[in-house]
Structures are given as C-alpha cells and as structure tokens.
Symmetry: C2
Subunit: 236 residues, 2 copies
C-alpha cells in the first residue's frame, strides 16, 4: 500500500477550498495550525527541558503559524523569542504580532546570535508554497539552523527544502535535517527525505475533504491536535 | 482574600477590548472558547461514557461557542446533534454551522424529544450578555434541561440565570443547576449559586489585561485549555 502525500499544488488547492466552500476563515485555520505546532513542541521538548524557544517567522502563512504557536507556548510556560524580519502588511499577521507584544514577548533582529542562547528553535520560515531560492535575510537563518546544537522543529516543511524533492542537492540547506517536523493537514512529498520525529497536526479536516484530496486522516487520540507518525508519515 | 468575579458589564468591556486594542478577531476567540468547552466535556464525560451529545445553541456568541465545541467534539469521536433554532445572519455563525454540515452532523428541530435520547447535553443558549426573560423557543429547552436525567454542561452561564444574581427565584430555570459549568476567561458572579464541577477556559489572556480587569488567571497545566476549580471559582 503506497502512502499518499499532499503535493504543493494540492496543498494550495486544499487551503483554498477550506477557505471557500469549507467556510473556514484564515484566522481559524491559523489558530488551529499554530496550536498543533505548540502541542508537538510540548510533546518533544516540554518546558522542563528548557524554557527558551527561538521562533523564526517567514513573511507568509508559515510565519503566521509560528506567531500563533509562540503565543500558545508562552501560555504553556515557555519563554519565546521571535525573529520576524519581513513583517507582512497583512492585517491578520499584524494582529498576531500585536498579541505577542501584549505578552511582552521579545522580538530580535539577529537570528544567528539569538540561536546561540536558546533551548529550542522553531522554524516557521517557509511552508508548502516555497520554491526557488532562499532570499535575504533568510540564508543566515538556514545556516544557523543547519549548524544548531539545540533541537530544531520545522513547521510543515524544513525551510529551504523543495516540497516535492526534499533538501537541496548542495549548498545552503543541503545538510539541514531538523529534529522534528510538524506536517500540517497531511505530509508533503519531502518527508521521504526526513529522518527526525514527525507529527501531523490539524484535527479539523472533514472526511469528505480527505477523500477528495486522496490523503488519510491519521488517528488522533484524546483531545490531541497532533499525532506522531513515522518519519515518512506512516502510522507508528 | 476575596475572590474576583467578572460582572456582565466588565465581561462585555473585556470582550470589546480583546477585539480592539487586544487585536484578537472574533473567529480566533470563538475558536479558543469552543475548544476549551470541548476539552472540559472530554474531561468530565469522555466518549467511552457515551458518544451522543446534544448541543443547544442560542442566537448569539454563546451559541457560536457551542458550534465550535461541537466540531471539536466530533473530531474527538463524539456524535453531536445540534439544536440551533434561531440562526443568526452573522457571517461567522453561518460558517461555523456550515463546517458542521460538512461533517454531516445532524441538526434537529425538537429539543425536548432529542434530549430523551442523548448521553450528555451542552447548554450554549445564553451567555454573559443574557438578561430579562427567556424568549421562545427556548423556555422548552430550559425546562428539558431542568428535568434532564443525563448530565448538562453549561457554557459560561447556566442559561436563564442572571449573570450577577444567579438562578431565578421561581418559575422557569429556578431549579436548573447544571452538572458542569465552563466559565470563559473568568467566573461570573452567578457561580456563587453553582454546585457542580466548574472549569475555567480561555488560556490566552495577557497578564496585563487580567490586572486591568482585576481577575486572576488560573494556573493551567500542560497544554490544557481548561482548569478545574471549586464550584465558586477558587483553586482546587
């Protein structure tokens, strides 16, 4: 039995459908995505193992998921620090950032330096819509994560990886293999190259939607918003 | 040490502030409120004790919280049934109802009959903005809940109760005392009259906001969105 992945185009179409006929708002979906990510972080690295978590947020939806996760992590007792160099003018992202400022969560300008004094890194730079080259100022972020001695958790995709083909063959990102990956809704094809602990998050998909997009909804337990699967996305 | 409650006026002002300077959207707040409620239901009455849950939704925000909770409960393995007789034209509520329809969750028209074949009732009829009389068609709902032989969980307030003074002195609602109450953000003054299991939900409030409105943020644990407190709202 072959496992079904959600390619970049299918993931984009699914997102669009959830927000049109599916009647979800992006506020709702991002809240649930960020909540999933925060639960996976808690599972692999509870605050008793170190409260400091540095969160790299990209300019798009992946960064938004990171901002939501940061807020929940703060509430769980973590001390998040945010690196968010390319702030979007999008009203939702502005609000998510303001919610963190109201919690007095610090925002930093220098990721590589901040990465030297944290207990965990959350990579919310690029998601399923990433392709092509890593643009400034993110190359230094990818390099710092490649060389990190503390665990790195990636949201939906290890940033710099191609969604279909995985890590770049050489150069920036080619030796980046995060410790943890949280696939949102369903694993992307890149997981075939992933070797760490793998979670699926996003417990809100209707069975009819999963059938239409030909992926399996994993078996979540209790009230969990995430479920751990094998590195390549199969049932543990 | 006297315990601090959030009166009806203060609760309305807080909601307004969260959605203005607090930068939360109502989609976000309702998602988090409904999620809290679903977690409390799971805690007191896991699906192994009976999967059927009948959810009475009022026309306003309390009903919206019920619609969100219903979706999460479905995902946890419950079989929710919705009674939602006064559908709002508000776009958000329409979307929340559509999300349930996509899960093929049934909507019923006759609450008293449905209440005879369920394992649990969720009362999401009226919240902190309720005052005055219970209007049609809700008197029959209150009566059915008063007489229910299965547990009833109320969202934010036992419906028909006055937010400051508690249950009506006589007549409809005067003998309604739900088994479980989920106070959203902070307990309302009516909890002084409540005798069941009591949870506080809404783990997103900034410490500065709690100080301003003079209530205490309870100590949540782990990734929980709810915490159990005494019937009158104090630490267990």
């Amino acid at each position: 039995m072959s496992f079904k992945y959600l390619g970049a185009k299918a993931a984009a179409a699914l997102d669009k459908e959830l927000m049109s006929t599916g009647a979800f708002s992006i506020d709702q979906l991002m809240e649930l995505a960020g909540l999933s990510v925060s639960q996976a972080v808690f599972r692999v690295h509870p605050p008793t193992k170190g409260r400091r978590i540095l969160i790299a947020c990209g300019p798009g939806n992946n960064g938004g998921d990171g901002l939501v996760a940061a807020r929940h992590l703060f509430q769980y007792g973590y001390e998040p620090t945010i690196y968010y160099p390319k702030r979007s003018n999008n009203e939702l992202y502005k609000r998510l950032a303001k919610q963190l400022e109201d919690l007095e969560v610090p925002f930093v300008q220098d990721f590589p330096t901040a990465a030297k004094s944290t207990d965990h890194i959350l990579d919310a730079v690029f998601g399923f819509s990433f392709s092509g080259e890593v643009r400034e100022p993110f190359p230094a972020v990818i390099r710092a994560m490649e060389q990190s001695t503390v665990p790195v958790t990636s949201v939906d995709a290890p940033s710099s990886w191609n969604i279909e083909n995985g890590p770049p063959q050489s150069g920036l990102g080619s030796s980046f293999n995060p410790d943890v990956l949280v696939s949102l809704t369903a694993p992307k094809p890149l997981v075939k190259h992933f070797k760490g602990r793998h979670f699926i998050g996003g417990r809100f998909v209707a069975p009819a939607i999963a059938r239409k997009y030909d992926f399996e909804v994993p078996e979540y337990t209790g009230i969990d918003q995430v479920v751990e699967v094998t590195p390549s996305g199969q049932k543990l």
